[in-house]
Assembly symmetry: D2
Homo-oligomer: 104 residues x 4
């Protein structure tokens, strides 16, 4: 877990190249979740709410996959190229992350 002490920015990570894309997708997700809250507040039909929740889940998985792809292409690849032990550690971490994501 990296920490974010104010004034001391984190080093740019593997997803730096696509950071704007990830952020704009996440802003869209924020809007979609607010939309769902509004649907429930307005007593909208349950099946329509479920359809929207499905769309948001899908959008979040797209963000996750994009971040994971950037991570493997940069952090993991750099570690593999620079040091076998560090490469192994990064690959272990990715395997664990996927396992948690799939709830295995």
């Amino acid at each position: 877990m990296t920490d974010t002490t104010s004034g001391a920015p984190n080093p740019p990570h593997g997803y730096a190249d696509h950071k704007t894309d990830h952020l704009s997708r996440l802003h869209k997700v924020e809007g979609q979740v607010r939309g769902i809250t509004r649907m429930v507040a307005d007593d909208r039909y349950c099946v329509d709410v479920l359809t929207q929740i499905g769309a948001v889940t899908h959008a979040l998985q797209e963000v996750a996959l994009g971040l994971l792809d950037d991570h493997v292409r940069h952090c993991v690849r750099d570690a593999v190229l620079s040091d076998p032990a560090e490469g192994d550690a990064k690959l272990d971490e990715v395997a664990l992350t996927l396992r948690r994501a799939l709830r295995l």
Copy 2:
């Protein structure tokens, strides 16, 4: 699809009893998504962001399951009890919703 004409509130739906619960869960999800956006803006470590996306996906599925459960216990059950054809239609709709949710 029910519509929401301003001034004319929708009739309360099957999830009316748990509406407050659903809304407070959704407000929490909104906060979690904003937190993820902030993590990406702050260049936080990719694996930590992925872990948070997993938590939000999980929270959304909890909301979806709660809504579906209320829907089946009220709308679907009422339809089944009042009219066989309407009960069938509601059950078809639930099957289709699950199929879409599972992307089959």
Copy 3:
């Protein structure tokens, strides 16, 4: 959990109408899994094996959804129509089954 004492057949269940369909899908899944075992035994390319595992998972979810649909349309509906308490119990059971299936 119903038991299967030899000689005493279980009563036909909600999926009786589509039993032949479910069985033929399951026989197809058995063949697909044997195919995957053969691919691994033959050192086939990992990505091709993963694609096949995805196809089998999909096929199993189709069977599960078909069984669930039959279950709700017959067992659950009959319980709802015959006795409120029994209907509630069946709906609780379906909610729990979905929750387990989604690993919530």
Copy 4:
């Protein structure tokens, strides 16, 4: 796609080290699927069948994750170390495989 011409064995792949593990898990899955077929043939209670399908799906995902992990640790890593373009191609392939597995 590698082909399997009889008599000409495929080269060992990234999962060679754990091949025995993968095969024994797959044999277990074969047995589980046959068990499910038998449950349906015997008119066993639908919810019990669904629980078993969930267990098999879980077991298949374990196999998939193990194969993917081996693939990344060997084929992908070797490609990354030997040639940047080949490394990129392997990483593209993994991203596409995950995307298909998650049905995005």
